[in-house]
Amino acid sequence: MSEAARILEAVRTVAKQQVNPDPEESLFESGVLDSFALTDLVSALETEFGITVPDSDLNPRKFESLAKIEAYIENHK
């Protein structure tokens, strides 16, 4: 499974719906995620990709879209 597909699966699991957002689409403005779901998504990404997201990075803007999530993971491997 590609990294993008793994990210999408994590988002779908946290959102509890089979969403299919565009890579640049805001997951928060579109209602896919809210502030509570962000903390769950971060936990899921930490587990899935073996990364550690510090509290200082816990900002919706860093995880705004699938593309931003992928970039974040690439920069923190």
Partner: protein, 312 residues
């Protein structure tokens, strides 16, 4: 060994619905409900103090227990919104209750104040007998200013709660307790001396949604009680979404979660004991099932207490 004898609460008369300030903050009533579950809160009168509210909650608790104030051996008071840096409200509450002379301790640990107070009372009851735990907050005085922050101003309300912890008797016996603190996040939720209240909501949610289930599981394991057997979870009433998430993670059925955040908002340290008093008055105690108290707040401080029906 210590017992929980009774709870009491006091809420100011003034009801403040979301609609009263939503426009001023540039938010929708529905957004506040969606984000927090809060529909309204109570605000104290300008002249009403933390001490005033604490005394009222203490009197309600003592009346419920049928105990004269003179029988109390120790007072523990939690508040982060008193009128002075020092002394805290504890000694003045004791004076107002007519029991000056007995020790009165201030525990200013904000939202975890009730759980810290209850746990300290449990530990100290063997020496002091009847311990009166009080938590009182006037949060409106610290979140409403000339330029209120919409993300915090919507959350908080005023009120006070109280509990009587006894070394002798009570409906519930304390079986297990756990307290924790971690100062690495002290600045993520704080009330600086010159105000206003600062909250990094994402960090608070992240830690609360992990640490509360963990500490609840800790006391359940220590007390050999299954989550499925818990009769009620009485938690710090910060946010309905957070409480739902905690109960789900622990494995306690949603109907076992007692909440009143919709009506009172987040009253910081007071909220857990206000909830306990309402749960008691609603007949929750009649089920005679294990109950769990849990709180999390600035510090971060967090903890839980498991109590089981006492043998009668």
């Amino acid at each position: 060994m210590a017992f929980l004898r009774a709870f009491g609460a006091y809420l100011p008369d003034r009801v403040v619905p979301n609609a009263e300030f939503a426009a001023r903050l540039g938010v929708e009533d529905s957004w506040i409900v969606q984000m927090s579950g809060i529909e309204e809160r109570r605000f104290a009168a300008d002249s009403e103090t933390v001490v005033d509210m604490g005394v009222r909650a203490a009197e309600a608790c003592l009346a419920r227990a049928g105990l004269a104030a003179e029988s109390v051996g120790l007072i523990v008071v939690s508040s982060g919104t008193g009128e002075r840096r020092f002394p805290g409200p504890a000694s003045e509450i004791g004076m107002r209750l007519g029991i000056s002379g007995i020790p009165a301790i201030d525990v200013p640990v904000a939202s975890a104040g009730s759980i810290f107070g209850l746990t300290l009372a449990h530990q100290l009851a063997s020496h002091y007998g009847e311990v009166l735990v009080i938590a009182a907050e006037k949060m409106s005085s610290v979140v409403w200013n000339d330029n209120p922050d919409k993300n915090t101003a919507i959350l908080f309300g005023d009120g006070a709660g109280a509990a009587l912890v006894s070394s002798k008797s009570g409906a519930w016996e304390v079986r297990a307790t756990a307290l924790h603190s971690d100062g690495s996040t002290a600045n993520d939720l704080s009330l600086p001396v010159d105000g206003p209240l600062r909250m990094n909501g994402m960090v608070v949610i992240r830690h609360a949604s992990q640490k509360l289930p963990s500490v609840i599981k800790e006391v359940l394991a220590a007390g050999a009680v299954l989550a499925a057997d818990v009769g009620a979870i009485l938690m710090h009433q910060a946010n309905q979404n957070l409480m739902n998430k905690v109960a789900s993670t622990v494995g306690v059925a949603a109907e076992r979660l007692f909440t009143n955040v919709a009506r009172y908002g987040n009253t910081s340290s007071a909220s857990m004991l206000i909830a306990a008093a309402e749960w008691q008055d609603a007949g929750g105690a009649s089920e005679r099932l294990p109950i769990v108290f849990a709180g999390f707040g600035a510090g971060f401080h967090w903890g839980a207490l498991l109590a089981v029906p006492a043998l009668q």
